[in-house]
């Protein structure tokens, strides 16, 4: 953050703050206090409380009863927990890489000599700010096996027409399709990244006789790795949270299973069911703890893995 560095004053040792520093510290903390208070009330405390609840049996009505690791033992033996974990990982591993590739492709195409780029920008971006629940309703209509547009197009070109929302092999694909409507937002982020690459790099590569593919591989891709990493991290976090589209596609989950063979039972969906449909708050807290740990571990793993391929440029840049 270069802007911060330039405006920063020489900082005195924290033990002998002058009157101005002390005054600034007071005012600074006062101004950020809403965030600080919110962080404690809506962040730290609920996380600690979740850990505590995960060790109890609790319906939300009577006081929690301490049961030790019983919830964790129950979880390991719960086939639906494994199903939900599998579904969520499957979805994330499918949606995130596809999302990165789609966004990158759109960004590269928009970065070429196309005058009407603002039109595409609007078309790609707009769906990403529309409510997911409404888009999910649209997909119920689009994917209807009887009179939906998608299967009509598939039949027209001689392809099989699957029962998207009725066949467990296809439900996840429907979910990934809905997620791709959000890719336009990332395409714009990537486009901003592409436009930040100095043109001299491409010019000197051309002088050296590099082709389009070579330029992409040796200039574009390395310089875009920080943005790609950012997309992967956010995508991972959102992928592990996927709920609304699965909830709508399965008709609200009030009808028992979450989609055929529970194929749309995502992790947050299962937390929701346990806590708010079955009243098992303690067990739902246990699942939340697992989600928290999985999120942190996966993000950590991605950052570690990224050290091998993210290019941060020279330190003095």
């Amino acid at each position: 953050m270069t802007a911060a560095a330039t405006s920063a004053e020489r900082r005195p040792s924290r033990f002998n703050l002058g009157t101005i520093e002390r005054r600034n510290l007071r005012w600074g903390l006062l101004f950020i206090s809403p965030w600080l208070i919110g962080f404690v009330i809506f962040g730290i405390f609920p996380i600690v409380y979740t850990f505590y609840l995960s060790l109890t049996r609790y319906s939300g009505l009577r006081d929690p009863i301490f049961v030790g690791t019983a919830n964790y033992e129950r979880m390991l033996a719960d086939p639906l927990f494994w199903k939900a974990a599998y579904n969520t990982l499957y979805y994330t591993l499918l949606a995130v890489p596809i999302g990165v590739v789609v966004a990158m492709l759109l960004a590269i195409a928009m970065n070429q000599k196309v005058k009407e780029v603002t039109v595409y920008r609007a078309i790609f971006y707009l769906p990403s700010i529309l409510p997911v629940f409404a888009i999910s309703f649209v997909f119920i209509v689009l994917l209807n096996p009887g009179y939906g547009l998608v299967n009509w197009l598939l039949t027209a070109v001689g392809l099989p027409s699957p029962n998207w929302l009725g066949d467990p092999a296809y439900t996840m694909i429907a979910l990934v399709m809905i997620a791709q409507l959000g890719a336009g937002q990332w395409a714009l982020v990537f486009l901003a990244g592409l436009r930040g690459i100095p043109t001299e790099l491409y010019e000197s590569a051309e002088i050296d006789g590099a082709g389009a593919f070579r330029k992409f591989k040796s200039i574009t891709l390395p310089l875009m790795t920080p943005v790609i990493l950012y997309d992967i991290i956010i995508g991972l976090s959102f992928g592990l949270q996927v709920f609304t589209s699965a909830f709508i596609l399965t008709g609200g989950g009030s009808r028992g299973a979450a989609g055929p063979d529970n194929s749309l039972l995502t992790f947050v969906y299962y937390v929701y069911k346990q806590a708010f449909q079955f009243g098992a708050m303690g067990y739902a807290a246990t699942l939340s703890v697992v989600l928290f740990i999985a999120s942190v571990l996966l993000a950590g793993a991605v950052f570690r893995w990224a050290r091998g391929w993210v290019f941060y440029g020279s330190e003095d840049a």
Partner: protein
């Protein structure tokens, strides 16, 4: 707004072909256009389908093969959808929550960003990095605990609730405590305002609050607009939180109202799509009115510090 905008002029330089050859034109503008037009079709189709299904008669909406353009334009469907589903009530609830959450977002994030950018105090940057790091925390992790906490907070009869559950409070009040993404955005913007302005105000004897209110805040209008728009759209679109906290039909916003209504009643596809169109429409209108603010929000958010 700062970094992305500054880097744009460089892109204009790219478009100078030295030797115009056929192959260059194909890879240079025809191929990208084909990709872009095909992708545009894919992105538009769901919304086109939503809109024309909303205009089909009930019989026509369940024919195979489906008609690509309605045979008879049943505009009446929009009126029917509004009357069939308690649309006005849900819309009013959505609007109340959206306005409340937006006011909260504007107030809190400007104040917090001021403290993170216009005052120099020890530990500021460390706390700011902590704040930004929380962007990555998946909020469903605390759903269960937060619900339990809110179910124990007294609402003093607000909306007839005994606790915060089944009131709008859990959907509005947290907005008054800032959002790390908006704080980041606003801080980026405030960092770009020259230091001398604050110094001059201080020399004139203005307190920090006066400097914030009279000097800095008027200069941040574009960033405030970005945050207001993003926060309003997010509140309008939110599904999971109202689903958890609201338990009475009269309190549902559009998102939850529509979902429950369709799971309890048989709603024909054309009416469902008409309702969906009406829900999506305000967001589309806001987008076209304020496109530049959306794009700025996204590009600033994308350029990391």
């Amino acid at each position: 707004m700062t970094t992305a905008e500054a880097s744009r002029p460089a892109a204009a330089v790219t478009a100078t072909p030295r030797r115009p050859r056929l192959r260059r034109t194909i890879t240079g503008s025809i191929l990208p256009r084909i990709v872009l037009i095909l992708a545009s079709l894919l992105f538009i189709t769901p919304f086109y389908w939503m809109f024309i299904t909303a205009l089909k008669s009930t019989a026509e909406s369940v024919t195979f093969p489906p008609t690509l353009i309605p045979q008879a334009w049943a505009w009446q469907n929009f009126i029917d959808a509004v009357n069939f589903i308690p649309f006005g009530l849900y819309a009013l609830n959505s609007l109340t929550i959206t306005v409340g959450a937006t006011i909260g977002a504007i107030l809190s994030n400007t104040l917090i960003a001021y403290g993170f950018s216009r005052i120099q105090w020890p530990g500021r940057n460390k706390l700011f990095y902590l704040c930004v790091a929380t962007i990555f925390l998946p909020y469903p992790v605390v759903l269960v605990a937060l619900f339990d906490i809110f179910s124990k907070l007294p609402s003093f009869g607000f909306q007839g609730g005994q606790s915060w559950v089944n009131t709008f409070l859990p959907l509005i009040v947290p907005a008054f405590f800032g959002n790390p993404f908006y704080i980041f955005l606003m801080r980026q913007f405030m960092m770009g305002i020259p230091r001398e302005l604050s110094d001059a105000a201080r020399v004139d004897g203005a307190s920090e609050l006066q400097t914030f209110w009279r000097v800095i805040l008027p200069l941040t209008k574009p960033a405030v607009t970005v945050i207001a728009i993003l926060a309003a759209v997010a509140a309008w679109n939110e599904f999971l939180l109202p689903l958890l906290y609201l338990q009475e039909n009269e309190k549902y916003p559009l998102a939850v109202g529509l979902a429950f209504f369709t799971s309890e009643h048989d709603v024909a596809f054309n009416l469902l799509m008409a309702a969906a169109t009406l829900i999506v429409l305000p967001v589309i209108v806001i987008f076209f009115l304020a496109q530049r603010f959306f794009i700025e929000g996204i590009t600033v958010g994308g350029v990391k510090g």
